[in-house]
């Protein structure tokens, strides 16, 4: 039964580098603590080579000009941990969440899907890199051996079955104590116990796993107890155990806290792009798409910002931060898509267009982006199907057009069950692939040719007109706005309509159809007499 372990060295630094990939080439140190008592919590290898060590104060670290200092972010670390779980879940359903920086997965039966163990290991490594994490991946015949190899060897390591003791023997004894490797805050007594054991082994001259595995069991048990035997079994790679599988939650959220508030759309788009790419990579690793994106922007309080009116605008949420007893204003935009999609560039453009139309109105200090997972759409193409717009392209096009003409001015029509002249509403235009091919369509419907129906062109809004009546019927019409005027050549009507009398917006009207001389031709118009409001209007022309 092969097992794999994914281990992220210097996890807080890796989480920060995932949020800011441009820092990978630089020395990075993570700060923890409240200002001004901030200490170095974790460093990457470059910073370590420059002499920066955990525990140094911020003032000491700042002496090194090339060092990038970042505060520790719980949001970034939780997102990185979720990405690590997503990476593991994309290869095996049986995943153990060992630690925030360590994930074990059972690879039994996965060879037929992903190839040999080295190929799987490399695939895991590359998938983690796509998700923004620099990891060590190791496979072995038992979980603990894989975990020790991942902690001790960088890159990809494959330990064949039966060679665990030999392969792990060269590793230093410190790999058995992860809290010594990771300057993580474990329980103080556990830390002390680990420190005491390590000191004892060091005094014995035991500095590698091979040396520990070679010690006599009874003597070791007499001196160090059961913990000593456990460590010896680990060092020999012979500690079989079962995984404790977890089901990774289907929560796809990414967040970034900003040191300085941003007020321009361009830097915001830059950050959004990064978050969207990470979200899309995570969704892709789980073979999912999204149909809803929720963008939450935490805003800075500025003097000119009218908080109350903004909250009344219902795009804002007032959140109470319990820690500092201060309320924060969050600007929320929800992007609902007609179909599940997974394209970071399309999402970014849609969000940009949306923010263009609905600006937050205050500087942004924190960005939170969440995606609602959905199953990817499946469509079966066909040679004989009519052309269909691509949903991603179309959504982008519609958003651009909506930004131009207005949100409620583009879409599909839906007739309402009313006799009101404008009895329709606009709805979202959704492209659904035709279910039937033309071959399956009954021939009768295709060959059916309806005769042309006289169409009305509406004037929106209707044009006020002066109508001269004779015996109650219109005889002369003057509408200066459209240059519609003249003697009525023919007329028909009236047709009386009324409705909504039970509501405030009651309407009642008489419709007439008229023919007027229009230049060298004759034009047909529909005019309306508003019985409630009074006045005559030209509603449209028959064309």
């Amino acid at each position: 039964m092969p097992f794999a372990c994914i281990y992220v060295p210097t996890f807080p630094v890796a989480a920060a580098l995932r949020a800011e990939p441009e820092l990978k080439a630089r020395a990075v140190a993570i700060l923890e603590g409240k200002p001004p008592l901030e200490n170095i919590f974790a460093v990457n290898e470059k910073a370590s080579r420059m002499g920066i060590t955990p525990g140094m104060t911020k003032a000491q670290a700042e002496l090194c000009a090339e060092l990038a200092l970042r505060p520790r972010s719980a949001l970034q670390e939780s997102a990185a941990h979720a990405a690590l779980l997503d990476c593991a879940q994309s290869f095996s359903p049986c995943v153990e969440d060992t630690a925030c920086n360590t994930v074990l997965l059972d690879l039994t039966g996965m060879e037929s899907l992903f190839g040999s163990l080295p190929e799987i290991s490399r695939a895991i490594y590359h998938r983690a890199a796509v998700l923004g994490l620099e990891t060590n991946v190791a496979t072995a015949s038992n979980p603990d051996a894989a975990m020790l190899a991942a902690r001790g060897f960088s890159g990809v390591t494959v330990i064949p079955a039966g060679e665990e003791a030999e392969q792990l023997g060269a590793l230093p004894i410190e790999v058995l104590f992860p809290d010594r490797l990771e300057e993580d805050r474990t329980e103080e007594d556990q830390k002390e116990e680990a420190g005491r054991l390590l000191e004892t082994l060091d005094r014995w001259g035991i500095r590698s796993l091979r040396a520990l595995a070679a010690l006599p069991e009874v003597a070791l048990s007499e001196r160090l107890g059961q913990e000593g035997l456990r460590l010896q079994n680990l060092a020999g790679g012979i500690s079989p155990r079962t995984l404790v599988p977890v089901e990774a939650p289907m929560v796809f959220e990414e967040a970034v806290e900003l040191e300085y508030a941003i007020v321009l759309l361009e830097p915001l788009a830059f950050l959004l792009n990064r978050l969207l790419e990470q979200l899309c990579a995570r969704l892709a690793s789980r073979a999912l798409s999204t149909q809803e994106l929720r963008l939450t922007l935490e805003l800075e309080k500025v003097p000119g910002f009218d908080q109350q009116s903004a909250i009344n605008n219902q795009q804002f949420l007032l959140q109470s931060a319990i820690e500092n007893r201060q309320s924060t204003i969050c600007f929320v935009r929800t992007l609902r898509l007609p179909l599940p999609m997974l394209d970071a560039r399309v999402f970014l453009k849609l969000l940009q267009l949306d923010l263009n139309a609905h600006p937050p109105g205050a500087p942004i200090v924190k960005i939170h982006l969440a995606a609602e997972p959905a199953r990817p759409r499946s469509a079966q193409g066909g040679l004989f199907l009519p052309p269909t717009p691509e949903p991603e392209k179309l959504e982008l096009t519609l958003a651009r057009i909506a930004g131009m003409v207005g949100e409620n001015k583009v879409g599909a029509l839906e007739l309402l069950d009313t006799h009101h002249p404008e009895g329709f509403r606009m709805q979202r235009f959704v492209v659904e692939a035709p279910q039937k091919s033309l071959r399956e369509t009954p021939a009768s419907t295709l060959t059916e040719e309806k005769s042309a129906v006289t169409a009305l062109r509406r004037f929106r809004p209707p044009l006020r007109a002066d109508v001269t009546l004779e015996n109650g019927q219109p005889m002369h019409l003057v509408c200066r706005k459209k240059d519609v005027q003249g003697r009525v050549l023919w007329k028909a009507g009236p047709w009386c309509f009324s409705g909504d009398w039970w509501e405030r917006e009651a309407w009642s009207r008489d419709e007439w159809d008229l023919a007027l001389q229009h230049g060298e031709t004759v034009a047909l118009y529909r005019i309306v007499h508003d019985l409630l409001g009074g006045g005559w209007f030209v509603e449209g022309t028959y064309d």
């Binding site: 321009l264 052309p387 717009p389 691509e390 929106r460 028909a492 031709t521 064309d543």
Partner: protein, 411 residues
């Protein structure tokens, strides 16, 4: 350069160079002369550098031969496969024609061409929108998705539904001034970075744009985006209510761009307008409206009828033909016979009111005494005349066709 070479060859009556074999000695001679000329250009002495081998003939003939061979050498450098002679040009495939929804129009034009621009122009009430809705209905019946880019926000949903358009497959872009547009006009932020941290008062647009131009700009930009998006069966530009002066401001390059964008795609690009404005970019141009002779006769008859009506004479005397026949002969719109028809006693009560509509009469008049035709009488059987002005698809003489429309009650 290549065109000059071809014309020279054609003018001299010789075969094209890439059909002829290259002469080796001429090639060497030409290269020697070219090398010497190059050196001369660098400042060397021509007498010392011109290395021409000894050949019989005078010096003038030698120079002419050198120049000629130089030209031939240049021609011979053109790979034969890169230029196709006119005689070998493949015939451009004819575009696929699809039904316009009006059989009479299909018989006239063969349908609407895919991948081409079709213009339907005519004055108000000439039947342009009727044709547009018929085409949209036919396209949506085929399962295609269609767009109407409406410059005047004039589409009537009830008419579209009555024409048989599947509204779920129709994207309607209603152009016009919008508040969002006012706030986020691209002109306002051109050249400057847009900050969303600003006072709301500052967002109010300072400049005033011509309304029609603004709509036109929206139409063109939306059409560009939709053509780029692709996948639509029919994209209709409804410029029917725009004044001709404004519509003519659309540069021909825009229409050329549209034509190129729609080329080799299954999309039909249809433009509804008052006058033809796309020039040679449109592959099919239909002019709607009455033939001029009939129109003049119709107007004259109208005036006679009105005069007769005013003088108390019977209108029937002015129109002795049978009512139905005259109505069919009308060019478009309700014609004089229709009015005579109504005055002869075809009252509103003779036509059954459609379901959902209530017909009433004015106070003090009975229904049967109402001397005016109803909706159905006025609008049913309107004749629409379409004239084929230009078709690049096949060489047909200009001709016209007349077909009827009917009234549908959708409200």
């Amino acid at each position: 350069m290549s065109s000059a070479v071809f014309s020279t060859s054609a003018a001299t009556g010789r075969p094209f160079v890439f059909d002829a074999e290259t002469v080796p000695e001429v090639h060497s001679l030409a290269s020697a002369s070219r090398a010497s000329l190059d050196r001369t250009a660098e400042g060397g002495c021509p007498h010392t550098t011109l290395q021409i081998p000894e050949r019989p003939g005078t010096q003038e003939s030698l120079v002419a031969r050198v120049l000629q061979s130089t030209i031939k050498n240049q021609q011979s450098r053109i790979p034969p496969a890169s230029v196709t002679s006119a005689s070998r040009l493949a015939i451009r495939p004819a575009p696929e024609m699809v039904s316009s929804g009006v059989p009479a129009l299909d018989a006239l034009t063969g349908g609407l061409p895919r991948g081409c621009l079709t213009e339907i122009c005519g004055p108000a009430s000439s039947g342009r929108t009727t044709l547009l809705l018929a085409a949209l209905a036919a396209a949506t019946r085929r399962g295609e998705f269609c767009v109407v880019v409406d410059a005047s926000d004039a589409l009537d949903p009830q008419s579209a539904a009555a024409a048989g358009v599947e509204l779920g497959r129709l994207l309607w872009v209603r152009c016009g001034e919008s508040s969002a547009q006012k706030k986020n006009s691209p002109r306002r932020h051109r050249g400057t970075e847009k900050s969303f941290f600003e006072n709301p008062e500052d967002r109010i647009q300072a400049h005033s744009t011509n309304h029609t131009e603004h709509r036109l700009e929206q139409v063109l930009r939306a059409t560009d985006l939709l053509l780029e998006s692709g996948g639509f069966g029919l994209i209709a530009l409804d410029l029917g209510d725009l004044p001709s002066q404004s519509a003519r401001r659309i540069p021909l390059t825009t229409w050329f761009r549209f034509r190129r964008a729609v080329e080799h795609t299954p999309t039909i690009l249809l433009a509804i307008e008052q006058q033809a404005i796309a020039g040679s970019c449109s592959s099919l141009l239909l002019q709607l409206g009455p033939p001029r002779d009939e129109l003049k006769a119709s107007i004259a008859q109208d005036n006679r009828l009105l005069d007769a009506d005013n003088s108390g004479e019977s209108a029937a005397k002015a129109c002795p033909e049978p009512v139905e026949e005259r109505r069919k002969n009308a060019a478009h719109g309700p014609s004089a016979p229709l009015r005579v028809n109504s005055s002869r006693g075809l009252t509103a009560g003779d036509i059954a009111a459609p379901e959902g509509r209530k017909k009433i009469c004015l106070i003090g008049q009975s229904t049967f005494d109402f001397p005016y035709p109803a909706h159905a009488q006025l609008l049913t059987g309107l004749n629409i005349t379409a004239e084929l002005i230009r078709s690049r698809l096949e060489r047909k003489p200009a001709r016209s066709v007349t077909f009827e429309s009917k009234t549908a009650w959708a409200g």
